[in-house]
Amino acid sequence: MSSKPATAAIALDPLEPVPVLVGRPDDRALTESLVKPLYAPMTRGWKMLVTALAAGMGFWLLSLATTLVVGIGAWGNNIPVAWAFDITTFVWWIGIGHAGTLISAILLLFQQKWRTSINRFAEAMTLFAVAMAGVYPIIHLGRPWFFWWLMPYPSTTQLWPNFKSALPWDVFAISTYATVSFLFWFMGLIPDLATLRDTAPTRLKRTIYGIFAFGWRGSARHWQHYRIGYLLMAGLGTPLVVSVHTIVSFDFAISQLPGWHTTIFPPYFVAGAIFSGFAMVLTLMIPARKVLGIEHVITMKHLDNMAKVVLATGLMVSYGYAMEHFMAWYGGNKYEAFAFLNRWNGPYAAIWYVQLVCNVLVPQLFWFPSMRRNLVVLFVASILVNVGMWIERFTIIAVSLTRDFIPSSWAMYTPTWVDWGLLFGSMCTFGMLFLLFLRFLPVVPIAEVKELRRELDHHDAHAAGQPAHGEGTP
């Protein structure tokens, strides 16, 4: 663009006032800053946190063991409330996972530069969230040791899964999602594992990272296939992530229960999933970027953009609430209308108001740039959003079940200590997995950030009206 007037050089893009990469460190400086936390000795804080989370994980294992030994009777579930904390927490975790795939796959296809530095982090969150989610449907089976009956294997009974039910769809959706998320994440890791192999200070670390790098040598012949394969994985991940929460919502939408039986569920669930997932990325990232000293790579720009996504998806979720109420009234079905009145003035009304504050009011803060750039506000709001989203699923699932068509079949639901143990224990286990990830793997995709730097240099050279000289030349 040599015809561009030279004055363009001065005008910065008004839409990008904060950089996605602070400074323009060269490849070596960038690598060193990103691998440093992996080779530093474990800090006291890290060890204390791991110990605390290990205690929570113990509580989780105890709750799991109780469930296995005693059975579902150890939970507060009853008839009619056959689905309660278990499925609520399952949907909540799966939803959280969705933000990771959105960042790594959908934003890649949209060529969003800010996605680069946070995609590894977000995808790791996806993997651990899906791992946590996957536990619940299995332990809810009653006899979890027969979980493989869900798969269409050639059994001697010649009975097969009922593919006309949404629950076997879930089995395929969740297992495909977990597999594809792992493959995509691992593919992105390979070049970075090679970097770790080549920079690790001890022989043991070099060997371990070297094994998992599988002999990557940065070959141009390999990069050629890699880039196409990575893009295709993103292309597959994009419809996949939308399909997963859609199918999860079918578990409810195709039943006839008032409060479940509605066609708005698929998009409304997907929006809610991304809403809570982005909030979780914020919750984890705000402390992590500080502790790991990677604020030059994960900048305020990233947090600001994520807050905007939280606002946008929060508005979609609010629209979903409004539309559900509108349809309950406009549809003229008295059971449906009752289910929604029951949210406002039924026995569980208190948590409904908490849900509205967390999911409808709190995101409105992010209309203001000063709020989007205030770490304390972001952190607290992100936690509130996740509290709100957990309550939303509880309201939809359990509160709808407590009062269905016939008052004689109504029953209240109260969780037991096992229910609470499974909920808080799974958070601790998730946190534990995440801490191990922060400790042993590069949180920021090193190779991709190097590419990002080249793109930014190239972009600047263009903006300055100069021909881009050999990209990547130091």
Partner: protein
């Protein structure tokens, strides 16, 4: 026994120029090594388009078709169950699993297909014999070429004349 000639370059432009020059000399086992994919490396090495998209498409179709046929056979023919009055063969109900299996097959094929195309896992490769080659995953730009033993020295000299910072010759022990 082949020799690997491994050379480091200071910048991308001379690296790609050197690759083009060696290719013009008739070298076929040329490769470049860099921490990020380089613009123009496909053209410099004369690489053909990757076959990954095609095998992914085929695998995805196989997954989707076999997923659909599996459901049709299992709940439509082998053991028909009447659920909510839906016919044994209910295409709308079969879509989710069909879709998921299409994605699953395509993704697994991309992942393992890449490893096959890369010839990986291969933990040891002659280029790793060069200690300085460690920089290839950090900030170094390297060229490697496999040649017959008698051509190794002339190739090294040619690379030096093309501006290589350092050149090493490694014996291929495999």
């Amino acid at each position: 026994m082949k020799r690997y000639v491994v050379a480091e370059f200071a910048a991308e432009a001379p690296l790609l120029d050197a690759a083009r020059a060696l290719r013009a000399d008739g070298q076929t086992e040329l490769d470049l090594h860099s921490p990020v994919p380089l613009h123009g490396s496909d053209e410099a090495l004369g690489l053909k388009r990757s076959i990954i998209p095609r095998i992914a498409l085929v695998a995805g179709l196989i997954g989707a078709v076999s997923g659909y046929v599996m459901q049709w056979y299992l709940v439509g023919i082998a053991w028909p169950i009447n659920v909510g009055g839906r016919p044994p063969h209910s295409p709308p109900a079969f879509i989710p699993v069909t879709f998921e299996l299409g994605i699953l097959f395509a993704a697994l094929t991309i992942f393992f297909g890449l490893f096959k195309l890369w010839g990986m896992p291969r933990l040891h490769h002659p280029v790793f014999e060069v200690e300085a080659f460690r920089s290839a995953s950090v900030d170094g730009l390297w060229l490697s070429t496999a040649v017959a033993p008698e051509v190794a020295e002339p190739t090294a000299a040619r690379l030096r004349s093309l501006g290589a910072l350092q050149v090493e010759i490694v014996e291929d022990a495999s």
